[in-house]
């Protein structure tokens, strides 16, 4: 239950020292409280009258109060500490996610990353604030209680001490064995739970197939199996608690009987016997509590490991030295023999998947972007790029075309600097670059994916994302050029309308137009990178959007990855990718209708069937 990574947090030593000091003070207070109580009871036993009771009762009360105050202070310390750790951890994780970039995030899955940040931090906090004081209590309190009991009645001390290895034996052997078993069962138990959620999620399908009634029985039997499974998990856990409980109460009972016998013999006095009896439960308490929140802390431990694995991941290199003024009509970019291989998926993610498998369902349905990434990676093997050489000069529209998994998106992401090439050389207006992850380059690009980034806020705020201090007039104008006027006119609050989660929903076409308005508002971005801008839109929206896009694309360097053939006639240059290699490149007239590879692709995609209609 303790993770060594805990000991690497800042200030952990001081924290542990303070907790240890409080635990020791608490142990002393527990003994003081027991002494006061015993003393009072002995006075009553001798029937010495009320005044004799004052001092012991006050002693008991004071020691009791000190003990409880120690508890409050420990909790306070641990909570504050855990609070601090988590507050420092959040920006660290966020900064790491930022530096790792969108490609790494997509690989991990947006939903799982958000879960890690929000639920994970919460679990880490619970873990830290629970485990630290418990650890200290278990180390010191039994020891202090044992010393005091021993000094008063060595026999009782021996009984308590004898019970200790027995308790640890059960805590360790039986407990660990049970946990091992219960972990395995826990996994099955999760699986069954998932099964129920699965059936609920599939209910529309079952209903449609007309077998939803039959599945009611299935739910019942799954549920029943679930219950039995859970019971067997719980029974294991309960048996180990039972063993711990049994030995502690048995120890107390044994001690009482032993002491009774010795008292009758006269070989021991009342005070030490009673003190031993009173201290015995407090001696066992920290040990019993230690094993209590196993599963609660397990989640926290896993979340912490997951975060630390993330923080340790190597970051892509960034080139801050590039001094470049932006793309102009005479700019030239030459890329030669560029290679790119996908990094292998890091192992750490598997931990989260298993520990968060039930919560994955609950609220984190994969977002559309993620689903897309899923489809891409599941459908094809390792989309990599091999030996790409091309050159862009001045303004122009470059279409990157190819089948799914040919590497179109990868190339665009490479140009945006989200991925770094593994080999090849890049020359940008005489500057040599290793990769495109350079602030000076990124300041001049705009990247528009299939589902552009829309956050909850007003439409104007969304449009201002690249140029935050743009005037209202400029925003209005950009929105107009992006073709948003008709839509805005239908909204009473126009640009101040709130959009995003929990507000007004917007369509895919509107989202694309907002992204366009963003680009239009910031004229320093002379390079536009599109990743399938119209693939998800219905044909009419696509048509309208294309009419808006074409004039905007003038006076820019535009690279757009697409599998929609109609863009080809609008392009100045086409790069056709096939399995990560350039199959053909050139102007449309050079590539189409010459029986080359592009014609083959067009044929496969069902292009140019108009002839059939004219018959």
């Amino acid at each position: 239950m303790i993770d060594t990574s805990l000991f690497r947090f800042a200030g952990i030593r001081r924290e542990l020292l303070a907790l240890a000091a409080l635990s020791i003070l608490q142990g002393a207070a527990i003994c003081g409280q027991a002494t006061g109580l015993t003393w009072a009871l002995v006075q009553i036993w001798y029937r010495r009258g009320l005044p004799s009771l004052v001092l012991p009762a006050v002693a008991f009360f004071v020691a009791f109060t000190v003990r409880q105050l120690c508890e409050v202070a420990k909790q306070q310390l641990a909570t504050t500490y855990a609070d601090g750790v988590v507050r420092r951890l959040r920006p660290e994780v966020q900064a790491k996610v930022f530096r790792l970039g969108p490609a790494a995030l997509n690989q991990r899955g947006t939903g799982s990353a958000v879960t890690m940040l929000i639920d994970g931090l919460d679990q880490v906090k619970t873990y830290i604030q629970t485990v630290l004081p418990k650890m200290m209590d278990m180390t010191f309190i039994p020891l202090i209680a044992l010393v005091v009991v021993w000094s008063q009645s060595p026999l009782s001390g021996i009984i308590l001490l004898c019970m200790l290895p027995l308790l640890f034996f059960f805590l360790a052997i039986l407990g660990l064995a049970a946990r091992d078993r219960s972990n395995r069962q826990y996994a099955q138990f999760r699986k069954l739970n998932t099964r129920f959620v699965d059936t609920i999620l599939g209910l529309p399908t079952l209903k449609m197939l007309g077998i939803s009634d039959e599945y009611e029985d299935e739910i019942h039997s799954v549920s029943d199996r679930f219950r039995k499974r859970t019971m067997s998990v719980i029974r294991v856990a309960l048996t180990s608690t039972f063993a711990l409980d049994f030995f502690t109460t048995l120890a107390i009972a044994m001690m009482a009987v032993f002491l009774g016998n010795r008292l009758i013999n006269g070989s021991v006095a009342l005070f030490p016997s009673l003190l031993a009896l009173i201290l015995a439960p407090d001696y066992f308490l920290p040990i019993r509590q230690f094993g209590d929140d196993y599963h609660a802390t397990l989640d926290g431990k896993n979340a912490l490991q997951d975060m630390q694995a993330l923080l340790k991941r190597p970051e892509p290199a960034q080139d801050d030295s590039l001094d470049w003024e932006g793309w102009g009509p005479d700019s030239r970019l030459t890329v030669s023999h560029l290679d790119y291989t996908y990094p292998t998926k890091p192992q750490a993610d598997a931990v989260v998947q298993s520990s968060a498998s039930s919560s994955r369902y609950s609220s984190k349905e994969p977002g559309p972007a993620e689903r897309e990434a899923d489809a891409e990676s599941a459908g094809t093997v390792e989309p990599a790029l091999t030996d790409l050489s091309f050159s862009f000069h001045g303004y122009g529209k470059i279409a990157v075309i190819g089948r799914s998994g040919a590497g179109k998106s990868t190339l665009v992401q490479l140009l945006a600097g989200f991925n770094a090439p593994s080999a090849g050389s890049i020359d940008l207006d005489g500057h040599r670059l290793e990769h495109f992850n350079a602030p000076a380059w990124q300041r001049h690009i705009a990247y528009i994916p299939q589902t552009p980034y829309i956050f909850s806020g007003s439409i104007a705020d969304n449009i201002r994302f690249y140029a935050q201090d743009a005037s209202d007039g400029d925003v209005e104008q950009a929105a107009g050029r992006a073709g948003l006027d008709d839509w805005l006119d239908s909204l009473p609050e126009r640009l101040d309308t709130l959009i995003g989660e929990g507000h007004r929903g917007i369509s895919g076409g509107q989202a694309q137009r907002i992204a366009l308005a963003r680009v239009l508002l910031d004229d320093s971005r002379g390079i536009l990178l599109f990743d399938e801008p119209t693939a998800h839109l219905d044909i009419e929206t696509e048509y309208d959007l294309k009419q808006t896009l074409l004039p905007i694309m003038e006076d820019h360097l535009v690279v757009f990855a697409t599998h929609r053939l109609h863009w080809l006639s609008a392009a100045d240059r086409i790069i056709m990718l096939d399995q990560g290699r350039i199959a053909a490149q050139g102007s449309p007239s050079e590539l189409i209708g010459r029986g080359g590879p592009l014609d083959g692709l067009i044929e496969q995609m069902g292009g140019n069937q108009i002839a059939g209609y004219l018959d």
Binding site: W45, Q75, F98, F246, Y361, S404, T451, L537, E540
Partner: protein, 615 residues
């Protein structure tokens, strides 16, 4: 709330934390009367299996009676032995009782815990069936939320909360109250005055402090929930838009996304923790006062003789094990807002479902094969004030026809399919099959329709089980034939486990196109006369799209096909194309005629197939 916005709205809608009713507004206090007053999910089950429930409460009470009894008899044993009776048999009874209580406590605790878990799991088992039954009664609820499966899985989470409600709140509270009664009566045997005083002190611990706790937690719970949700939304949005943050180099701002919500949650949790610490301290101090009171009481009433004085230690010591029993009640109350919230969700569901149950229509059988489908002047809106999705739409479809439905997103294409299925009822007009209204054909529905939505659901089981849902009696040969029809047979044959390959959660093992085809195989197997497809090719690349549509046409030969599409590819095999615009049919006719006569259609068609004639 029906989501009438379009399919590709803010991506966070699917990835966020689910329910959107939280918002950022001022958190409101729970209306307990409203939630608990009209309840279908809690009270009915508390009445279930009353005998077992009584046994659980009895065992729980007995556990603490034994715990107190152990200290009572031990204290007595030691006090009596200290008088040095000349014979061990004087203390024989306390010795036996000490052992009995010592063994009884863990045994009863074990029994209580196993029984109570068993009882709760049985209840949850029935709750699952109830949830399933409630959901399956309301197909329109399901179709509305098809895309946001998170709502469904959150309901499953709510059931888990109810499970904890029994275990963490109901059982401990009832046991504590029973112990309150037992203690009051037991002390009453010695002294009615002390009993009354104790009763009042216990009332503080068991009534007043828990109620204060509840009221404190209520406000905090609502605030934390709302803020958490905000944080989820903001972080998910920013993660989905990470590429834009990266190219604008706003790492610091990105890291701060949702940070204020996070800080508010942390602050609120800290306040709660502080409250809990001092609350527990207060409870402990009440027990200290009780202990001192018992000491004084023993001094006053139990010092009449040596024999009576021997009971002093017994009485005072038996107080301490009871702290464990009583201190949990305050925390149990503090968790009530969480459970009430879950209960409120489930009750809300029941009420919505009840409210939407339309008057039963007398069902008829369709004896002859499907001949025609008619929409007669159908008008539909999701509710008053909502946009009219269909405005006086009439449509006649002959059996065996292939009809394509097109139109901008959010224009009611899917609604037409749902109206035809009978999941939605038109505001006016009729929908007829062979002249019979579909509302009267609901029993026939599984036999009549095969329906494939945009993201077909695959159950987390094998390929064979998933496909067999279409026809539970199908042989393996039948399944292979269906797989052949959807061109998946080779892919499945290549898998080591063949038909028994698990498809994994949500069909994750397969790409989007493969998932579509597996779901389609169900429909092929089902062999219904009418097949409805809702954008079956969305998100697929054109080559796959082309292949899939060709395969669909072949597999549905001779059947009536209605498919919603956003592309015009594959349209040449349609008998009828229907364009919806603003709730009305804008264009209608055979594709060849539309192409000849309708310039707009021609324009769109050329765009879609990538008219390269100009190159």
């Amino acid at each position: 709330m029906p989501d009438t916005s379009t399919e590709r709205t803010a991506p966070a809608a699917a990835a966020g934390s689910g329910r959107t009713d939280g918002g950022a507004g001022a958190p409101e206090r729970t209306d307990y009367m409203k939630v608990w007053g009209r309840d279908h999910w809690f009270w009915p089950y508390l009445k279930m299996n009353k005998g077992l429930l009584a046994l659980i409460f009895f065992l729980g009470t007995l556990t603490f009676v034994c715990a107190a009894g152990l200290m009572f008899t031990s204290g007595f044993l030691i006090s009596r032995s200290a008088r040095r009776p000349f014979n061990i048999f004087v203390v024989y009874v306390p010795i036996v009782l000490t052992r009995a209580f010592g063994i009884g406590r863990p045994v009863f605790k074990y029994l209580e815990r196993t029984r109570s878990h068993d009882w709760v799991l049985r209840v949850v088992s029935r709750l699952r069936v109830q949830l399933y039954r409630t959901l399956s009664k309301d197909a329109s609820f399901l179709s509305e939320h098809e895309r946001t499966g998170s709502v469904l899985s959150m309901l499953a989470d709510d059931l888990d909360h109810l499970e904890n409600f029994y275990l963490r709140t109901i059982f401990p509270t009832v046991v504590a109250y029973l112990m309150w009664l037992v203690v009051t009566m037991a002390v009453g045997v010695f002294s009615w005055v002390s009993s009354l005083l104790l009763f009042v002190l216990f009332a503080l611990v068991l009534v007043l402090i828990p109620l204060v706790s509840l009221s404190f937690a209520d406000g905090h719970y609502a605030l934390e929930k709302a803020r958490r949700q905000e944080e989820y939304t903001k972080v998910t949005e920013s993660y989905l838009g990470l590429s834009d943050w990266v190219i604008t180099h706003r790492g610091a701002q990105f890291a701060g996304t949702g940070a204020d919500d996070f800080a508010r949650v942390m602050d609120s949790q800290r306040e709660q923790k502080r409250f809990e610490r001092w609350r527990n301290f207060a409870i402990q101090m009440i027990f200290a006062v009780m202990a001192v009171g018992l000491l004084v009481g023993s001094q006053l009433f139990l010092t009449g003789s040596d024999g009576m004085a021997d009971y002093a230690a017994a009485v005072v010591l038996s107080l301490f094990p009871l702290i464990d029993c009583f201190i949990v009640v305050a925390q149990a109350f503090a968790e009530v807002p969480l459970y009430t919230d879950s209960l409120g969700n489930l009750n809300g569901l029941s009420e919505r479902v009840e409210a939407r149950q339309s008057a039963p229509v007398e069902q008829v059988r369709l004896s002859e094969p499907v001949g025609s489908i008619d929409f007669e002047h159908v008008t539909f809106a999701y509710g008053p004030g909502q946009p009219v999705l269909l405005d006086d739409v009439s449509l006649h479809i002959q059996a065996g026809q292939k009809v394509a439905l097109l139109g901008p997103s959010g224009e009611g294409k899917t609604t037409i399919l749902q109206l035809l299925l009978g999941d939605l009822q038109p505001d006016s007009g009729r929908i007829l099959i062979n002249g019979q209204p579909v509302a009267a054909l609901q029993h026939e529905r599984p036999r009549l329709f095969g329906y494939l939505n945009q993201q077909p659901f695959l159950f987390n089981t094998t390929i064979a089980s998933n496909i067999r849902l279409g026809n539970p009696a199908a042989t393996d040969d039948g399944i292979w034939r269906a797989l052949e029809a959807v061109r998946m047979a080779d892919a499945v044959r290549a898998l080591p486990q063949g038909l028994d390959t698990p498809v994994e959660e949500g069909g994750a093992r397969f790409s989007g196109g493969q998932r579509q085809r597996l779901a389609l195989a169900r429909i092929v197997l089902k062999d219904t006369p009418i097949v409805l497809l809702d954008e079956p090719t969305i998100g697929l690349d054109p080559v796959t799209e082309q292949e899939l549509m060709a395969m669909v046409m072949e597999a549905t030969a001779g059947r009536t096909l209605l498919w919603v599409t956003h592309h015009l590819q594959g349209l040449e095999s349609a008998d009828q194309v229907v364009f919806l615009d603003s709730g009305r049919i804008a264009m209608q006719g055979s594709p060849a005629r539309l192409y000849r006569d309708n310039p707009r259609f021609r324009q769109l068609y050329r765009l879609d197939v990538g008219d390269l004639a100009s190159v």
